[in-house]
């Protein structure tokens, strides 16, 4: 343990990054870079061969992630990462397929696919980075924007309701549901590793700061990260119906945890059994 060594912890992570494309496009204070590092850490420690890991994303800031990760990666069209991933996973069940995309991509335009992939219990992993905004396009509201927020398309305050992602995922039947932040790097990495082991639909929401959302709602990223330190509560047994988030409210805790762990058989497992049945094997 003696001797001068740099990068003991960071070298393995760098080995799975497309460093030639760094520095990445994410803003100062954006949590996505950290999420990418946690994902890579989990991949390295997963026990699954690296070449079997595949990343799929849609469109948005978070969806730029595969472009920086040195794995087979598919940056497809807005909202359609999940069906692409399901098609790929179903025909190649040797692969570990992870969707990394944002709140708008997965839950607005991609909402129907999220709904049904959870219902089918497709064996894919979905990491939703929730920054409560459409960052890439300049700061419009989305289905998780906190009511009252100022965004470019809600200049007088957002008047819609917002999804509570863990609640939604749990109700839809996901086998694994968790929520963490880019400050909780160890817990996040551990949760991603758990995700890989799940046979079925696995969802992790990562609540993230966003410079764009922050500028319009007086929530600088550093302040959000401090809130992640000071105002988060880890409660794996939390009543999911009550864990919606309001970053602007200093009295409202942000509840984190590994909330759901179920073992309903995945669609792909059942589909394999269908083959035997169809051939008269019962």
């Amino acid at each position: 343990m003696s001797g001068l060594r740099l990068g003991l912890r960071t070298e393995p992570i760098k080995s799975l990054l497309r460093l030639e494309r760094f520095p990445h496009i994410w803003c100062p204070g954006c949590g996505i870079g950290t999420v990418v590092k946690c994902y890579i850490e989990a991949v390295l420690d997963s026990g699954i061969p690296i070449e079997k890991h595949v990343v799929v994303s849609g469109i948005g800031c978070t969806s730029r992630a595969p472009g920086y990760i040195k794995l087979d990666g598919f940056h497809v069209i807005h909202g359609r990462a999940i069906p692409f991933a399901v098609g790929l996973k179903t025909v190649r069940q040797d692969l570990e397929v992870t969707v990394i995309a944002g709140d708008g991509d997965i839950l607005a335009i991609g909402g129907n696919h999220f709904l049904h992939a959870a219902r089918r219990n497709d064996d894919i992993n979905v990491i939703i980075v929730n920054n409560f905004i459409y960052g890439m396009t300049g700061g419009q509201y989305g289905p998780t924007t906190t009511p009252g927020s100022i965004t470019t398309t809600s200049p007088y305050g957002f008047i819609e309701g917002a999804f509570n992602i863990p609640y939604l995922a749990a109700v839809l039947g996901a086998n694994f549901v968790a929520r963490w932040t880019p400050l909780h790097t160890k817990e996040l990495t551990a949760a991603i590793m758990e995700m890989f082991k799940v046979d079925g639909f696995a969802v992790i929401e990562v609540v993230s700061p966003c410079l764009i959302y922050g500028e319009m709602n007086n929530l600088p990223p550093l302040e959000i990260m401090k809130a992640f330190r000071d105002r988060t509560v880890i409660d794996h047994e939390a009543d999911l119906s009550k864990i919606d988030i309001d970053l602007r409210d200093p009295r409202k805790p942000i509840v984190l945890g590994n909330f759901v762990r179920r073992s309903r058989p995945s669609y792909q497992t059942l589909a394999r059994e269908l083959i035997k049945k169809a051939r008269g094997g019962g």
Binding site: R18, R21, G47, I48, I50, E51, K52, V54, V56, P66, G67, K70, L71, D72, G73, F74, H75, V76, I77, R80, I82, P83, F84, A85, V86, G87, L88, K89, T90, V91, R92, Q93, D94, L95, E96, N112, H113, L115, H116, K197, D199, Y267, A271, R272, L274, I275, K277, A278, R279
Partner: protein, 395 residues
């Protein structure tokens, strides 16, 4: 870590394929069986009349050959799923009709951009919009080529019989996997639902194309290597660790906003089909060599038009039939000789005039081109086509 099951249970798949022989079969079913013979092992679809027989047949047959069938929540999920499957290295297909085909357009652009081989069977019906779900139409000709935004090329086949539903579906897979391009089988409700004689040849006689695999080690592999018109295709999970994006990208697959990158990419995407148009494009010419009027008709309309053309001949008119078997690339060169000789053209189609525009693009400045549009919902009968032939026949 539970053991992951790899590719499909491909063993003994051949036992479950349609055996060579003569059958009396519905067009939609023939296309489904052809897909299985071509190696299709994944079907994703959404019910829509008049294509449902394809999905239903695949639901029953795919597990038997070790494949997977998923009826998704909508057409958009279906088309994206088959693109995902293609990048897993598995031949995949969907089937739909006009309204579903419209929903799929964005993803067809994706498939063209990331050069994913997929096959879409569009059993056209009367439109526009919901139209008449149970009756014939040919209104998707233009949509097949221009439906998505931006510049790209696709290939589209026009079967006019159950045999062609079989043969052209196999050819569709071959074209898709050879050129890494989305391919549409533009069938129609009548051809899809008709029941006719089908001859299935022995498997050894059927040409099946597989993807061209990379010939270099992963460190040297460029997923969109522009030194090739059609780059060799790596698939996920084999160690190539490549990046695919629908953003305009360079040879490495990385996004770029530079104009020279856009020019290189978009040019290659269209060139790979345009430069091979005479290999990919297909047509049939009947009695065209001495014709003064060439009737251009495709799909079910060509069957009715052929009868009209034969009747016209019996009445002493020198009429021929030019039947495009690919809508795209449009086999314009097959009309060249007749047009140079002075023949005029009559395009008959079950729409308000779609292919006629393409014919005009090539030959309007050389000869007379007449359009016989026919409102969707019915095949124009031979005597109606004959009446039009006589009306426009050159004096």
């Amino acid at each position: 870590m539970s053991e992951r099951i790899s590719l499909l249970a491909a063993e003994r798949a051949e036992e479950w394929l349609l055996k060579p022989g003569v059958y009396f079969m519905q067009g939609n079913i023939a296309a489904a069986e052809a897909a299985l013979i071509a190696g299709c092992r994944f079907f994703a679809g959404y019910p829509i009349t008049p294509s449902n027989e394809i999905a239903e047949h695949m639901a029953r047959r795919l597990p038997q050959v070790g494949g997977y069938f998923i009826q998704f929540e909508d057409e958009i999920a279906s088309i994206n799923a088959i693109i995902g499957a293609a990048y897993g290295g598995v031949k995949s297909m969907t089937a739909t009709s006009g309204p579903g085909f419209s929903l799929m357009q964005e993803a067809i652009g994706l498939a063209a951009m990331i050069e994913a081989p997929i096959v879409i069977i569009d059993v056209q019906r009367a439109g526009p919009s919901t139209g008449i779900p149970t009756l014939v139409g040919q209104g998707d000709i233009m949509q097949a080529k221009w439906g998505s935004h931006g510049d790209y090329e696709i290939v589209a086949y026009l079967p006019n019989s159950v045999q062609e539903m079989f043969d052209l579906t196999i050819e569709a897979f071959n074209t898709a996997w050879e050129y890494r391009v989305p391919v549409v089988v533009l069938s129609d409700q009548t051809v899809g639902h008709m029941i006719e004689k089908l001859r299935v040849p022995p498997l050894e006689e059927i040409r099946i194309v597989e993807r061209r695999k990379p010939e270099v080690p992963p460190e040297e592999y460029l997923p969109f290597d522009s030194r090739y018109l059609v780059p060799p295709m790596a698939v996920a999970g084999e160690g190539y660790r490549f990046h695919v994006t629908a953003l305009t990208h360079d040879d490495r697959g990385y996004p770029s906003t530079r104009h020279e990158v856009s020019e290189k990419l978009v040019t290659r995407l269209v060139r790979k089909i345009r430069e091979n148009e005479k290999v990919i494009g297909r047509y049939e010419s009947i009695m065209v060599d001495d014709a003064d009027l060439v009737v251009v008709a495709y799909g079910i309309t060509s069957r009715s038009a052929l009868k009209a053309v034969r009747e016209a001949r019996r009445e002493g008119l020198k009429v021929g039939l030019f039947r495009p078997i690919t809508a795209w690339p449009f086999p314009y060169w097959g009309l060249r000789e007749a047009v140079d000789r002075g023949a005029s053209i009559l395009v008959v189609e079950i729409n308000m005039g779609q292919m006629v525009h393409v014919v005009r693009e090539y030959y309007a400045n050389i000869t007379e081109i007449h359009s016989m549009p026919w409102a969707p919902g019915e095949v124009p009968r031979p005597h109606v086509i004959l009446r039009k032939i006589k009306e426009v026949y050159p004096r």
